[in-house]
């Protein structure tokens, strides 16, 4: 047992911090919450790519760095801590590359991975549909074979990154006769195709991240199929472990936490800093305790991935826990800020750069996207505790 990072890992963390602090000092961008999913900055992504920080864990033969998942956790933890605008490359780096490494053909690896590694693949995730959310296996979007192509017809919704994408990861039904989960396939292709159209969904904060995506007779070559036809649902389960396993489920609002700590130190009520109020101290210390334990769940997932094992219940646990933590953080920030907490980010009187208000709203979705907490708990109950329905 060892809770220490190696000297190389400590140095790496510092290297990432120095880079990000340098960029902030140069005024290239400002820290924001949810930056990993909302802040699209192609130039930032290009600079990150230049440092070899996209595809860190992929095999060197495909242009990756062949490094550990713990190293990736360190990298992404710091990106999140500093609220860095990594949205352009986050999905491709987090899960698409892994899917291609795992299931892709040599041609796909040679063609696609370098594009991602250069920071040029802005990926939308085409999974959910209006009638298929938690019950993804019931999806209806069709991929019909036609010679050397597939024809895609249907509609996706809640498509993350849909407004910025130039590539889409798509799950579609290739065998309508088979039982639901056994007739689904995965595809990955460029979106600049006739028949693909998007419609932005404005979220509760007023921001745009999710989209509806419509596929009207879209023709894609069969070489866009990832892995085996009709095995997509089982392949995706593997990908979901990656999607769920990251620090973004715990640290996406770290800039808010930092701002909150600063706020209570600086803000006085009745002549005394809020930080002297026992209730405030207790709330913030409790958040710190919960954050630090959250990091242990997260790093535990990294340890398992580096052992070559699939962290299915472990990543379900870390995501369900982490997202609940973030909701508690935002709620605490609102409570501590009191009346000021309700001010919009645009108000001149708003505390903490309006992040409390914003995070309180945006965090409502965390326990829903990428696996609702209820589904995740079902996974833990079934896989680990072996409690099954009947």
């Amino acid at each position: 047992m060892n809770f220490k990072f190696t000297d190389e890992q400590v140095k790496f963390r510092q290297e990432v911090r120095d880079f990000l602090e340098g960029e902030i000092k140069q005024g290239l961008w400002q820290p924001t919450c949810d930056a990993w999913i909302m802040a699209h900055d192609p130039e930032f992504t290009r600079r990150v790519a230049e440092r070899g920080w996209i595809g860190l864990t992929w095999p060197k033969e495909y242009g990756g760095q062949g490094r550990s998942f713990i190293d990736r956790l360190i990298l992404t933890e710091e990106m999140l801590r500093y609220g860095a605008p990594a949205a352009c490359h986050w999905f491709a780096d987090r899960q698409i590359g892994g899917a291609i490494v795992h299931y892709g053909t040599d041609e796909q690896k040679k063609e696609i991975l370098p594009i991602i590694i250069k920071g040029e693949a802005y990926v939308g995730l085409g999974m959910s549909e209006p009638d298929a959310g938690s019950d993804l296996a019931s999806l209806k979007t069709r991929a019909t074979e036609d010679g050397d192509d597939y024809i895609i017809d249907g509609q996706k919704t809640w498509t993350s990154g849909g407004s910025n994408m130039n590539w889409i990861y798509l799950v579609a039904r290739t065998d309508p006769e088979a039982p639901k989960a056994r007739g689904i396939s995965e595809f990955f292709f460029r979106t600049d195709l006739p028949g693909v159209s998007t419609n932005p969904i404005v979220d509760i904060t007023g921001g745009v991240h999710f989209n509806e995506v419509f596929f009207d007779n879209v023709r894609i070559p069969k070489t866009c199929l990832i892995g085996e036809k009709n095995r997509g649902f089982y392949q995706i389960l593997n990908q979901l472990d990656f999607e769920r396993s990251g620090m973004e489920r715990l640290m996406a609002n770290y800039p808010l936490f930092e701002a909150l700590i600063q706020y209570v130190k600086e803000t006085k009520r009745n002549g005394k800093p809020l930080a002297d109020d026992p209730v405030v101290r207790s709330k913030i210390a409790q958040l710190k305790i919960e954050l630090e334990v959250g990091r242990l769940y997260m790093y535990r997932v990294g340890v398992i991935m580096d052992e070559g094992r699939a962290p299915n219940w472990e990543s379900s646990m870390s995501k369900a826990y982490g997202t609940a933590f973030e909701q508690r953080l935002a709620t605490a920030a609102i409570e501590i800020a009191g009346l000021y907490g309700q001010l919009s980010p645009a108000s001149r009187l708003t505390p903490m750069r309006g992040m409390a208000y914003h995070s309180y709203l945006s965090s409502k979705g965390y326990s829903l996207q990428a696996g609702s907490s209820e589904v995740l708990k079902n996974i833990i109950a079934g896989r680990k505790l072996e409690l099954s329905a009947k």
Binding site: V264, K265, S282, I284, A285, E292, V303, M317, K390
Partner: protein, 377 residues
Amino acid sequence: MDLVLTEEQEMLKKMASDFLTDKFPKAVVKEIEETESGYSPEIWKEMAELGWMGLVFPEEYGGVDMSFLDLAMLLEEMGRACLPGPYFSTVMLGGLPILDVGSDKQKQEYLPGIASGETIFTLALTEASARYDAAGVEARATADKDAYILNGTKLFVPDAHIADYMLCVARTSDGAKPEDGITIFIVDAKSPGISCSLLKTIANDKLCEVVFDQVKVPKENILGEPDKGWAEVKKTVERAATAKCCDMVGCLQEALDMTVAYAKERKQYGQPIGGFQVIQHYCVDMFTDVEGARLSAYQAAWMISEGLPCTQEVAIAKAWASFASPRVMALAHQIHGAIGCTIDHDLQYYTRRASADGVTFGDASFYQEVVAREMGL
């Protein structure tokens, strides 16, 4: 970073689990709880023969030179078995401080007796204020030629009534801060002027009120430096808190295992209740809490093992275990239904033990404040 136990740790856990399961079925735990001494001298001897008391002592003192992390594994098994008796008091509260700051003479005098199981120790620290900080120490030790005269009342002292020696924390001078002027004394429990009375507690864990009335302690029985004892007291509290976390991990894991097993077995409405989603989610919530307790306890234990400063990590572990424990036990009881609320069911051993652990050597509020201070609030 890795979370793998060494082969030695696996063996120690297995051996401990086998021994404790064999020697401490709940009927025996119940019997021992009802005795005044709170332990079985026969089994105590066997534990000493297994090398458990001197687990982390160097071989020259009769120990087996294992690490604090190894000891943490053993403590977890003891929690699982609801081990009654003065193991924690003797080793954690007596042996480790002596090992840490004792003179060679003191180590030679006391450690072999602990390792062999001959000597029982405890620590008399908390007083009426029931605090673990220096300001809570009001007991006084006044210099008198070659000795000190000790006066004061200590509360919640575990196993004082059977201890051969007590480490007593008293104030020898007044300084600018409450931490200044604190001294640790090794006190012979048979000294004239000491009176012990057993407190009735929820966990039947033999806590005592100990009155020191003009107790004479030789100067050479000062442990560490006079007036500068608080640093070691703080370290002892941190080790003890971490040890309690390990005990709680064992308790809570066992409660979880019992609960999951019950949910698979108990049928209502024609099916095991473990098939109902609410019950499943309750079990997952318990499991999440236990995993958090385990990871944070191991982290603190590992840092202590490595000699790294870990005030924050200990605070995080104990705060977490202390607030998670009532949540876990509440769900355990809820899932067990009425049968879990009877004295004959085993669950209540864990409910009582975990609740005592939760408040001992610092509760959640205490450690929240430690974390707040470490954060610079």
